[in-house]
C-alpha cells in the first residue's frame, strides 16, 4: 500500500507535465498533483501531506523545468496545512473540499509568486492571476469535484460489498 502511494505521488507528479496538456482546455490545465496532495493530506495527516507535497512539488519543478524548490516548498506547506486542518476542522464534505481546492490553488499561486519575487524571478502579478492562477483554480475545483465524487462512490460501493453477509 505504501509502495503504491509512493508510486502515485512520484509517478503522478512526473506524469503531470507530460499528460496534462492532453486534458487542457484553451491552454488551461488542472494542477493534478495539488489535488492529489490535498486529498492525501486529508486522509493521511499532516506529515504525509507535507512529505507528499514536498516530493510532488520537487518532481514537478524538475519535470517542468522551473526553479527547483518553488513548488516543493509551496506544496509541502499546503500538504502540511491541510493535514492539520483536516484533523481540527470539518473539511471532509465535498461541498467544503471543492471550494477549498479553489482557494488553495489561489493561495499556492500567491506563494509561488512571492517566492519568485524573493528569488529575483519577477512575473507580472495581474496577468499571472488573471490568465493562470484563477483559471487553474476553477479547473482544479471542477476536477477536484469529480475526483471527490468518484472516491465517495467507490467508498460507498466498497462499504456495501463489505457489509453484505457472505
Amino acid at each position: 500500500m505504501r509502495g503504491l502511494l509512493v508510486l502515485t505521488v512520484a509517478g503522478g507528479s512526473v506524469a503531470h507535465a507530460t499528460l496534462t496538456p492532453l486534458v487542457s482546455v484553451r491552454g488551461m490545465t488542472p494542477d493534478l498533483p495539488l489535488i492529489m496532495v490535498s486529498l492525501l493530506a486529508l486522509r493521511r495527516g499532516s506529515e504525509f501531506g507535507c512529505l507528499a507535497g514536498f516530493v510532488t512539488g520537487l518532481l514537478q519543478d524538475a519535470a517542468g523545468g522551473g526553479l527547483i524548490g518553488v513548488q516543493g516548498l509551496t506544496k509541502a506547506v499546503i500538504g502540511f496545512g491541510i493535514g492539520v486542518a483536516g484533523s481540527r476542522l470539518r473539511v471532509s464534505q465535498p461541498l467544503v473540499q471543492v471550494p477549498g481546492l479553489v482557494v488553495l490553488t489561489i493561495a499556492e499561486g500567491l506563494a509561488r509568486f512571492a517566492l519568485l519575487q524573493i528569488f529575483r524571478f519577477p512575473a507580472p502579478f495581474g496577468e499571472l492571476m488573471m490568465y493562470v492562477v484563477i483559471p487553474q483554480a476553477l479547473f482544479n475545483g471542477f476536477v477536484g469535484a469529480a475526483v471527490v465524487l468518484s472516491l465517495a462512490g467507490v467508498q460507498a460501493l466498497r462499504a456495501r460489498f463489505e457489509g453484505e453477509p457472505s
Binding site: 512526473v14 507530460t18 527547483i68 524548490g69 516548498l73
Partner: protein
Amino acid sequence: MKIQKFVLLVFLVGICLLLLTLQTRGYGSAAGDLFAIVTTPIQTGLAKASHATFGLWATYLDWKNVRAENRRLREEVQQLRVQALRVSDTDVENRRLRRLLTLQERLPLTTLSGEIIAREWGGWIRSLTVNRGRGDNIPRLSAVISPDGLVGRIVDVRPGASIVQVLTDPASTVGAHVLRTRTPGIVEGDPRGTLRFKFMARDGASIQSGDVLVTAGQGGLFPRGIPIGTVRVIDNRGAALFHYAELTPAVDFARIDEVLLVTGDTQRDVTAYFPKDG
C-alpha cells in the same frame, strides 16, 4: 509529536529554500541534472505510452470515420444510380412517345394512342391489353400499330380496356406481300412465338432473306403497307404447293409499351410512312 511534525515541515522548507538559493547563485545546474536523471526516463516512457495510446485512438477514429464515409458514399452511389436509371428511363420513354406522336401526326388515318397495361405471353394465347375500351369507341378488329410496324388487331373490347391479338398468336393470320416482289401470302403466328409467311411456291421463287413484308390491305381490316417483318429463312418444300418463310417481326412485342389503334378508314396505303427496311 507535534514538534516532530513542525521539525519535518521546517526541514523540508529549509531544503527548498537552500535549493532555491543555490540556484539563484549559479549552482543550480547540478541539482537540476540530478533530478533530470530521475525524471527524464519516466517522462520519455510516459510520452511514448501516451503517444501510442492516442495514436491508437486516432487510428480507431480514422477507421470509424472511413467506415462511416464509405457507407455514406455507397448510399450516395446507390441514389445516383437510381437517379441515372430514372433519367435514362424517362429519356427512352420520351423518345418512344415522340416517335409515336410523329407517326400519329403524319399518318393519313384516324388513330388513338393507347398504353399497354398487361401482356398474356403463354404459348396458347399471345395478347396485349390496351387501356382503351368501349368508352373510347374502339371497334372490334381495329388494327393496332406502332412506329415499327403492325402489332395485331383488337379481338375484344371491354369497358376501359381492349385485348389485342398479337401477330405471333397461333390463331393470328394477316394478308401480306413482299414489298420488293409483291409476292402475296399469309403471315401466321406459331406456337413458338415466331412468324411465318405462307406463300404459293410458283409466286415466291425470287423471295430472299432480308425481304420486307407489309400488310396487303385486301380484307379492309389493315391499311396497306404496314411493316410486318423481314424474311429470315426460306423453308423450301420442294414440289409442295405452299412454301414458308420464317420472319423476324418488325415489332418487339415483349417490349412495346405504347400503340396506335386505327379507328377510322383503313383503305389507304401507308407504305411511305414507315421505315423501308422493316
